[in-house]
Subunit: 346 residues, 2 copies
DNA sequence: GTGAAAGCGCTAACAC
DNA sequence: GTGTTAGCGCTTTCAC
């Protein structure tokens, strides 16, 4: 374990101890060019002994690189995003980058603060897991010196690589699942925040139309965020409208959890009274009682792809148009069930 | 919004444009010493216009500080830890520090890799939200040039400031809640990982003993991790042992969620057949159906305290012995209920 | 009140 | 193969 003096050694001291120049020590450490075996061994031994670790700040100053990728995500990130960013972090680390997280609130001031911090970090790359509102933010990103990858959404008018699921297809699949179970009076709880809220609502509409079921606007509710609380409130509102719902498609699993909760509060249950389906397939969704029927986004693949694309871009590779739009997978559990004949409420 | 040349401006260019020296620009930005109002205004205007932001690497090199606090947490961090670290991050940012996360897996190799990375970062402070196993890790921490604060646990033999809840009191409260409801046949699902698993089990035992209820070892199960899956498996095992349980104390909410799931899988339910209580009070716990009865840890206060202590320490303040051990709060929801008389299974 | 100059720790030319 | 030198962008004495 050696002396283990804690990180006080600089490259100069190691060089002195080894009786060589700092450049040589640098060469040994970075394996840039050949150094005589004997010297190399000696230096390595000293590095061990002194516990020398290169100073990142000095290194990144001269290299003009930080080996750091910034990840912007909502301060209130949910479990889906949590899984996504862990995955991204893991792959990024494997590629030799450290990850710096930027949590941003859903308010202009927070976004501009984030933007300032982003600028000061001289990042090698930026991953957006959060769809900010400020147009200036995207302008900066587009002109930024570092590559940018969007994850879980796309932005019209820019050509950032964007890793995301086909929202329309996913929500059509969710709606079709309910239709296939015999449901006709299907409600929707989606959100007005972020692009995907509208996209998922659109998928719901087109699936209904494709099945020849008229869209009843009273069965659609758009809540401000995607939290369980909003799902709960949305479901209560839907119930209050008395549209004889037998099924509800919640645009996210968290919304679905809240919706089931609302049912519970009024003495109803899923799927007994109303079938529920979500989107995301959070870790927890399989452990709910009833287990949540949902549409899974391939988190692992999306995270890996995001990390791969950004590191390729950083390395200067041309952006090959990877297939960046991912497919979904329907996961049927217990919160949805076939409509008992004659019980469609009409 | 001005020229907005992307972060290419250096302090020298701003100085040239303003017709002053770099030192003056530095003084204006850092408000270190007085600069004539006129010049100050001019410089500030240029800073705006050029979008100049000081380079962190250069800054930290000369200042010999990174303004960075490292937070070590488990790669599989749960929702409780997620809330905790968001809180810490927010306060740290308010104090002017950026947060660098170190996710570590539950394996020796991952811990030593984390240790290496920790060393190379020249952190101003280190917060441990994860109880690593490697003794060497703690040795490093104890000798580290930067202050260290433990959060959610304590480590015998060291005198790191440790922010955590009184585990014994919290789990006694949970157990007593069940006892107060008339339950006598109370199971326990806790874990063998981390110190708190044993602590919570101890609280369970002493509460039982205090109530004159003999501890039945067959009603206690220790699972390897604290995931819903383990809670589910643990509950199935408990059920299989046929000890006429009417209530179960799960050492974490995630464990409790899994336990309820297990009940659901065999056609039982909480609280109808078995009452369930957890510890943590995750965001999601209130939205389950039934809502989970649990013991809340004051996440916000703990996070704030952690950030305050570390920033005080970094600023060179002597460590005043703050009250670092927090109290809990029983949150009664629907997963627990009074034992119907005569239904105690014996 | 402001400028000049030194230097933080490192790497990359460029000599030798 | 290895040493010398310059310089990354910033802050901070020290002059003025």
């Amino acid at each position: 374990m050696g002396l283990g003096v804690i990180g006080v050694a600089s490259i100069i001291e190691v060089a002195k101890l080894a009786g060589v120049s700092p450049s040589t020590v640098s060469r040994v450490i970075n394996e840039k060019s050949y150094v005589k075996q004997e010297i190399r061994d000696k230096v390595m031994a000293l590095v061990q002994e002194t516990g020398y670790v290169p100073d990142n700040a000095a290194r990144s100053m001269v290299l003009k690189r930080n080996f750091t990728v910034g990840v912007v995500l909502p301060e209130t990130f949910n479990m889906f995003q949590r899984q996504l960013f862990s995955t991204i972090e893991r792959f990024l680390e494997a590629f030799g980058y450290r990850t710096l997280f930027f949590f941003v609130k859903w308010e202009p001031e927070s976004e501009s603060k984030c933007l300032r911090r982003l600028k000061s970090e001289k990042l090698d790359g930026i991953i957006m897991i959060h769809e900010v509102t400020d147009p200036e933010f995207y302008e900066y990103l587009a002109a930024a010196p570092a590559p940018v990858v969007l994850c879980t959404f796309d932005r019209e008018g820019y050509d950032f690589p964007a890793v995301h699921v086909n929202e329309d297809a996913a929500s059509q699949a969710a709606t079709r699942h309910l239709i296939g179970l015999g449901h006709r009076n299907i409600g929707l709880i989606s959100g007005s925040q972020f692009t995907f809220g509208a996209q998922r609502a659109a998928g719901y509409r087109s699936a209904l139309e494709a099945a020849g079921i008229p869209v009843d606007e009273e069965r659609i509710i758009l809540v401000p965020t995607y939290s369980p609380e909003e799902g709960r409130a949305g479901m209560h509102e839907l119930l209050a409208r008395g549209r004889n719902l037998t099924a509800v498609f919640a645009a996210t699993d968290e919304l679905a959890i809240g919706a089931i909760r609302a049912l519970y509060e009024v003495g109803l249950n899923a799927p007994g009274d109303i079938s529920i389906i979500g989107i995301d397939d959070l870790d927890i969704s399989a452990y709910l009682s009833p287990g949540l029927t949902t549409v899974r986004q391939p988190i692992l693949e999306m995270g890996r792809m995001t990390a791969e694309v950004i590191s390729g871009l950083i390395a200067g590779e041309d952006f090959q148009h990877h297939p960046l739009v991912f497919g979904h997978r329907l996961i049927v559990r217990e919160s949805s069930r076939a409509l008992a004949s004659g019980s469609n409420g009409d």
